[in-house]
């Protein structure tokens, strides 16, 4: 039996003035899959996920989550349905302790007592290796640790869909390896949409890849198929078509 579709977009379009950031994007994400979204700079990846989680209003088109049309919902309601989003540009609560950053993520749904919240927070921080820094102010963490804190906040939300916008940007090599392990560890328990420039990370984590170019879907398939796709190679290297 085919996996359920968790997220679907139909003809999703965004124009900024006359510039088309996304044009008629039809996109399917099956439940439980780890999908990477790649494409050259300016391909419209961030705009696309911004429209998924409601940060950026779509010009036209629809977004479906678990079969329900969520196109009209504001961002906070979409998040409450079970979508977590980590920011491309690190955005933590810099003046609050690390623990409170994650606690805010865990506490939001209101189903836990404060003691249960703190248990869950410690568990999440332990999982990402930040437990020994739990009482530090988040703004005092190194850049790499702040990126990891972003991911911890996402985990704290227990999302059905976890959208990570360039999570390894600016991480050291060892931290990237830890990140890859973390994502592979999460596989199966949640659906992941990963925007990523680091092709090594993509190849080591993604089960499927979608390529965006000039705001449109250029290709999708398994990592192997994408690697061998001439159109993708052309988009990234920008050669062959120019010579036609």
């Amino acid at each position: 039996m085919a996996a359920m579709t968790l997220l679907e977009t139909r003809a999703l379009t965004k124009t900024f003035g006359g510039i088309k950031a996304n044009t008629n994007v039809d996109f399917l994400l099956p439940e439980g899959q780890t999908m990477a979204l790649i494409g050259p700079n300016g391909a419209g990846k961030s705009t696309f996920v911004g429209m998924l989680c409601g940060r950026i209003p779509a010009t036209s088109g629809q977004v479906f989550f678990e079969g329900k049309d969520i196109s009209a919902l504001p961002a906070h309601k979409r998040i409450a349905l079970g979508i977590a989003y980590t920011f491309q540009i690190t955005s933590v609560f810099a003046n609050l302790p690390v623990r409170e950053n994650v606690a805010l993520a865990v506490r939001r749904d209101g189903s836990r007592t404060e003691a249960q919240v703190m248990d869950r927070v410690d568990h999440v921080l332990d999982r990402v290796g930040l437990l020994d820094r739990a009482d530090q102010v988040a703004g005092d963490l190194s850049y790499g640790h702040q990126r990891i804190l972003e991911i911890a906040m996402g985990l704290g939300q227990d999302p059905k869909l976890f959208i990570l916008d360039e999570p390894t940007q600016g991480l050291a090599e060892s931290e990237v390896t830890e990140f890859v392990d973390l994502i592979n560890d999460l596989k199966g328990s949640t659906t992941i949409l990963l925007i990523e420039h680091n092709m090594d990370v993509v190849m080591r984590t993604a089960e499927a890849i979608t390529v965006l170019n000039f705001g449109e879907i250029l290709a999708n398939g398994t990592p192997q198929q994408i690697q061998n796709n001439p159109a993708v190679q052309a988009a990234y290297l920008g050669t062959s078509h120019a010579e036609d």
């Binding site: 989680c53 998040i79 989003y85 920011f87 609560f93 409170e100 805010l104 939001r108 209101g110 939300q157």
Partner: protein
């Protein structure tokens, strides 16, 4: 002791200290303290919005005056019983907060400051415009007979002190509980990074609206209590000066701290009181003191205490 129990101990100690002051201090200072505690209720209302939610209003005199006039007009000009008039004052402040919050929260930052300032100016001019009822700048006095509640004459110096202390204590403890609650922590999240809070699933607009309602209503309670305890209602309390005061009190005392508002009001009151006994240029002294605090204690008195000595300070 945990941070939580320390915070309880701190608030109870502060209340005990204020109560003890009644027996220790000369009568003049007891009178000052009554006034300071009532104004601190107003300041705590302001602090909730500015200090905890990060919204800078320049129009809180509108809420203070809404409570004051809602109560004062209905008890003095309307001849209603004191208890009922207090409820009307409360309802007035709440309704004004409801309307102003609904409209003003469509704006952000500087625009929010300007819009709240304009609303407050409109309120001030309304008071002057209906001068035949409100007596405008001159204001009106509330009859001593009307200033009694549950058989207690609140125009009496002693009763007034304990009533002010009771109101202050209830507000302080409520604020302390609120900022430790998940709602209070969500407000802090909005202050710190509104977009992130939204992307964690918090309805930040709703949180801000509730904060305006609570803050405005609390400011109104301050205005109402002022009229009840000190027996005077006047347009000065609706003027821009009374919108700036709570901002100064909270900045000086420590924005986003529970005890900051009281410290700020106390400090400002005595600063002006003492300096004016030495010189006519007392506002210059106040200005210099403000500058020094801004330079060397930008987080206010309680804020610096928290930073340097007591990190658990709520």
């Amino acid at each position: 002791m945990t941070g939580k129990s320390k915070s309880y101990a701190l608030h109870l100690c502060l209340i005990a200290l204020l109560a003890a002051a009644f027996f220790i201090l000369p009568q003049y200072h007891v009178g000052v303290l009554s006034r300071v505690m009532v104004l601190a209720v107003y300041a705590m209302g302001y602090n909730m919005l500015f200090g905890y939610t990060g919204l800078l209003s320049l129009g809180h005199a509108l809420f203070f005056a809404a409570g004051m006039y809602g109560f004062g007009l209905s008890v003095q000009q309307g001849g209603l019983p004191t208890g009922l008039a207090l409820l009307i004052g409360l309802a007035t402040a709440f309704t004004v907060s409801l309307v102003v919050g609904f409209l003003a929260l469509r704006t952000k930052e500087v625009a929010f400051m300007i819009v709240t300032l304009m609303f407050a100016q409109a309120g001030y001019l309304t008071v002057l415009y209906f001068g035949s009822i409100t007596r405008g700048d001159e204001g009106f006095v509330i009859n001593t007979a009307k200033r009694a509640l549950f058989g207690v004459d609140l125009s009496d110096e002693t009763a007034r002190f304990w009533a002010a202390l009771l109101l202050f204590s209830v507000t302080l403890l409520a604020m302390a509980a609120l900022v430790k609650s998940s709602f209070g922590r969500a407000l802090i999240a909005v202050r710190e990074n509104e977009e992130r809070a939204m992307m964690l699933g918090y309805d930040t607009h709703r949180l801000k609206y509730v904060a305006v309602l609570l803050s405005g209503t609390l400011a109104g309670i301050g205005g109402m209590a002022y009229a009840l305890l000190f027996g005077y209602v006047g347009a000065t309390f609706a003027s821009v000066q009374y919108s700036i005061f709570p901002l100064l009190w909270v900045l000086l005392g420590g924005a986003g701290t529970t005890i900051g508002p009281l410290l700020g009001v106390l400090f400002m009151y005595y600063l002006i009181d003492i300096s004016s006994s030495f010189t006519d240029a007392y506002m210059l002294v106040a200005g210099v003191a403000l500058l020094i605090l801004c330079l060397f204690a930008p987080q206010g008195l309680a804020g610096e205490l928290r930073k340097r000595v007591f990190p658990w300070l709520p």
